[in-house]
Amino acid sequence: MSAVDVAPARLLDGLRSDGRPVSLAEHLDRYGRLPLELRPEELRERVAESGLTGRGGAAFPTATKLESVVRGRTRPVVVANGTEGEPPSGKDKVLLAYAPHLVVDGALLAARAVGAKKIVLATTSTVHAHVVRALAERRREAGLAVRSAVVPDRFVSGEETALVQFLNGGPALPTFTPPRPYERGVDGAPTVVLNVETLAHLALVARFGAAWFRSAGTPDEPGTALVTVSGAVRDPGVYEVELGSPFAELVEQAGGDGRAQAYLVGGFFGTWLAASDANGALLSNADLGRFGASLGARAIVALPADACGVVETARVAQYLAEQSAGQCGPCVHGLAAVAQSLEELVRRSRRTPDVGLLRRRLAQVANRGACRHPDGAVALVASGLRVFSDEVDRHLHGRRCTGHGRPVVRVP
């Protein structure tokens, strides 16, 4: 039993212990009905006052997103993004599998807030059945119908322009911007794409108000967030944390033994953080920013002392290179070259690895794709070279690497 004062669970509060999804009746029992008496501008105001930000990775203010689509002449469309392409992240799948009605609530309220009549709940096939079951329980509500869509399970599918292009009948690949989805999205209408966890929080903000939402978290980063913890912990899984709470507290809750050497923070577009930094850090972008990190996709992987950070980084870099949409030269060639350089470094091929060239390539690739895929990938690799510089040297000089070979950061 841990003596840690656990954050007030909001989204994951009172989930059934038998692991089955919360039914509509149980959901209404716990949270009450949708506050349909709120006018659209009242809803938007409430979201603005709450300070809710996107829980998909970019932490963009949700109220600004909603406002961006209400001015247009065309009726906007709401897309609930539950694609969660990040391999180390499971929070959106858990949310959709166990508390789908919170997400549907949020989508209905977001639609009401912006005057949308069309809502699409996009997921990969993994959780689609849960979504369909939940939607069947509430076929038509608040005069709105929510449609579900199954998106291909690959890393870039959830990027918002990729998602919009897919929903318009095209491939699930990013498009050149502008136009951004809020300008021209699904069926050409202004489209607001919101992460499913963001929508779940929105559903509670609408019901319980901004002050309630702000009673957890920090003034700048209010509320709770779902975090997926994996790697060297006894109880990997999805945890609901208060933003600004200690990093070490979450690790302890997940059963970390305190011997991790580093943490991958923020998913595959995230940052490696040395344990010495992570142990004193808080789970907020403001505090993690001190180390050049952010919560990002809110996936954390604990790297045990007997693993090699360079080998782990090389594996992720290889995966991200393969997951390039293949559309932009700098991403296709740049990420492949970066992955190959890392591979040479860890394999100790006969050719002497050129770390200088690797670093130059990292600097050259950023900001040159249609989407942020190459940027995220090179940022992760750059942080790996920084945090595991000793390990890089060991590989360069042919000394024994600390890795035991068993992969910690897993890729599909």
Binding site: F176, C328, G329, P330, H333, Q364, A370
Partner: protein, 82 residues
């Protein structure tokens, strides 16, 4: 006051490289032949060259976009122009 900046659509671009020959002041090529575009404003003297590069791109990937500058950048350009 607005100004002109060069921008490449990386999805369309196929590394023909003509742009870098026509406006080397703003575009260089990476090791795979794809343009690295300097997004600072194109001064008037360079404008004809920039337009020629845009017209020369076989894939219509290069654009000359009119943007409204941030106050800070406007001052910086003003200084460079004078």
């Amino acid at each position: 006051m607005s100004e002109l900046v060069l921008r490449v659509n990386p999805i369309l671009c196929d590394a023909h490289g003509l742009c870098a020959e026509l406006v080397p002041e703003r575009i260089e090529l990476d090791e795979w032949g794809y343009p690295i575009v300097d997004a600072t404003p194109v001064p008037r003297a360079l404008e004809p060259h920039a337009r020629r590069a845009v017209a020369a791109c076989p894939l219509l990937a290069l654009r000359l976009d009119r943007v409204t500058p941030l106050p800070l950048r406007e001052r910086a350009t003003g200084a460079r122009r004078s």
